[in-house]
């Protein structure tokens, strides 16, 4: 516990050069998230098999994976939504989730949504502060259904951060936003992360998003981590390496080319006349 708080305060003081400091540390702090041999199956169907995962305090990890790769299952476990009683799973007590759809309660005003479940005094003041941080001070008393997509996601972000989570989980939170709004929210997330220093696990489809935002990228496929990339370059200076890394990661994901995908290839194997068949790739 203490170690986690220390490192968070430590991170707050020097938000910019965190990577450099992390490298110079002799003994790394105990991880915020620790999974060993984690397995989850529904019936005979193993969604996640024998997965090891560490996330350091204050680390920004992106999780890439195709649909059905087990991303959401992993996220639900880390969020504490699915119980993992008999497994070696350590998650911090303070967690918060930002979902793809904002999941604001439509019958509560924006600030009440942010304050949902908060205990103690000054609940409204804390909600206000959080909303001001995401630039929604003018929408405190609005009904959620009147918010734009970007505003709703920012409100969801405020609702997560007001809990001062040690672990912030984000399930494709930017997928439904238009390109320009997405870039703005990216900046906002990085700024808030550098201030609050939670560990972040960002689940995404978007390779470029993962490269732009994270310290480390994991690729999940069929319930296993098949690739891991650590990014040490500062976030503003990643354009140069983005090209190669992008190709590499897309390779692990199965680029969407039909020949790379076992299931799709099987569909097209006996149909050589179809122009997209594996025998004549693009």
């Amino acid at each position: 516990m203490n170690a986690i708080f220390d490192s968070r305060r430590f991170g707050q003081l020097t938000p910019v050069s965190r990577e450099a400091i992390a490298d110079s540390l002799q003994a790394p702090p105990p991880p915020a998230v620790r999974l060993r041999g984690f397995t989850r199956s529904f019936g005979d169907n193993a969604i996640i098999e024998n997965l090891d995962l560490d996330i350091a305090p204050g680390e920004f990890v992106s999780l890439l994976g195709r649909s059905g790769s087990g991303k959401t299952t992993l996220l639900r476990t880390l969020a504490g939504l699915d119980r993992a009683d008999d497994q070696d799973v350590t998650i911090p007590p303070a967690r918060a989730v930002v979902f793809q759809d904002s999941r604001l309660l439509p019958w509560k005003r924006v600030w009440q949504n942010v304050a949902l479940g908060l205990r103690g005094k000054d609940v409204r003041a804390r909600a206000e502060t959080a909303l001001r941080e995401v630039g929604l001070a003018h929408r405190l008393d609005a009904w959620p259904l009147t918010l734009s997509g970007g505003e709703a996601q920012r409100a969801a972000l405020a609702r997560a951060l007001v809990r001062e989570p040690q672990l912030l989980l984000m399930d494709e939170p930017f997928a439904a936003l238009d390109a320009l709004t997405r870039l703005r929210v990216h900046d906002l997330v990085l700024r808030l992360w550098s201030v609050h220093r939670p560990s972040i696990l960002l689940v995404t489809h978007d390779v470029d998003e993962a490269i732009a935002l994270s310290d480390r990228i994991l690729v999940l496929d069929k319930g296993r981590i098949v690739a891991e990339e650590r990014l040490t370059a500062p976030r503003g200076e990643r354009a140069a390496l983005a090209g190669d890394l992008r190709e590499k990661l897309l390779g692990f994901l199965g680029t969407g080319r039909i020949g790379d995908d076992d299931d799709l290839a099987a569909v097209f194997d006996d149909k050589p006349n179809i122009p997209f068949s594996p025998s004549t790739p693009f």
């Binding site: 967690r95 918060a96 989730v97 979902f99 439509p106 509560k108 949902l116 959620p144 259904l145 009147t146």
Partner: protein, 279 residues
């Protein structure tokens, strides 16, 4: 922009047209007016009564009905009996609302509750409540109790069914989100499930109100010594069609009032809904 400009320029002289053509506009507006046909019907009815085409024992003239209405209000006959009827509806509805809400909550919020309650409610639904009248008279006599019991029994189901469906229909993703923020099951019920089920509950309430008034009419046929039904039964014996029509008007007014009440409640508690925000 230009379209709007052209439009206003061409409509400006239209407003300043001479009177003859504005008469023609009035007629054009009249034949499209939705309130005209009921008025014409009333006028024809009055005319029929005045000429003796419709005898008073078949149907009283509208003017007679109005006079009777006024007389009944002034004498206190209508207000006192209306109060009695209103009391029956209120008591029956209060019981039906309480029981229906209780059962809907238990069945909606717990699996064992659903297994215990829902089959019985579905069986109950197949029995027309009106058909229970003889049994209720045997059980409760012919006083106020069977009347209130009929209304209560009939209003349980729409409340129960809509609340139960509303609770089960609450977006599970919102429940997940609330759980992820560490809300206790009780807090989730209070902050997520119940507000989410509220629109469906109001639908049930509206059904219950209209059913309550229908059941009131039927229940008051049971040997009533006061109330609107009593007035109607008495009027039937004396062939006072004017009093019967007055009571019908009052029943209609009660229905309108009940609907307006639910609308008001909905507007106050469902202000977050986009349709109401836009309005």
């Amino acid at each position: 922009m230009t379209v709007a400009a052209t439009f206003s320029r061409s409509s400006a002289p239209a407003r300043a047209r001479p009177r003859r053509s504005s008469n023609r506009g009035l007629i054009a507006r009249l034949i499209r007016a939705p309130w005209l046909s009921p008025l014409v019907l009333l006028a024809l009815w009055e005319l029929g009564s005045r000429t003796g085409l419709v005898p008073a024992r078949i149907l009283a003239a509208p003017s007679t009905v109005l006079v009777t209405l006024w007389a009944m209000v002034v004498s206190g006959e209508l207000p006192t009996n209306l109060l009695v009827s209103f009391g029956r509806v209120a008591a029956g509805l209060a019981i039906g609302l309480a029981v229906g809400t209780g059962l809907g909550l238990v069945a909606g919020l717990s699996k064992p509750g659903e297994a215990a309650i829902d089959p019985i409610m579905q069986i109950k639904r197949t029995i027309p409540v009106v058909a229970l009248t003889p049994l209720f008279i045997v059980w409760f006599g012919i006083g106020e109790t069977p009347k209130i019991a009929l209304i209560a029994f009939a209003t349980i189901f729409p409340i129960y069914l809509n609340l139960y469906a509303g609770i089960r229909g609450v977006d599970v993703r919102l429940v997940d989100a609330a759980r992820s923020f560490g809300l206790s099951p009780l807090e989730i019920v209070w902050h997520v499930v119940l507000p989410g089920a509220l629109p469906a509950f109001f639908t049930g309430l509206r059904y219950a109100l209209s059913i309550a008034i229908i059941l009131l009419v039927i229940a008051e046929q049971i040997n009533a010594t006061a109330g609107l039904g009593y007035l109607i039964n008495n009027a039937r014996d004396f062939m006072r069609t004017d009093i019967i029509v007055v009571c019908l008007l009052v029943y209609a007014a009660l229905g309108l009032l009940a609907d307006g009440l639910v609308r008001l409640l909905e507007k106050a508690s469902l202000a977050w809904r986009p349709a109401l925000i836009a309005a």
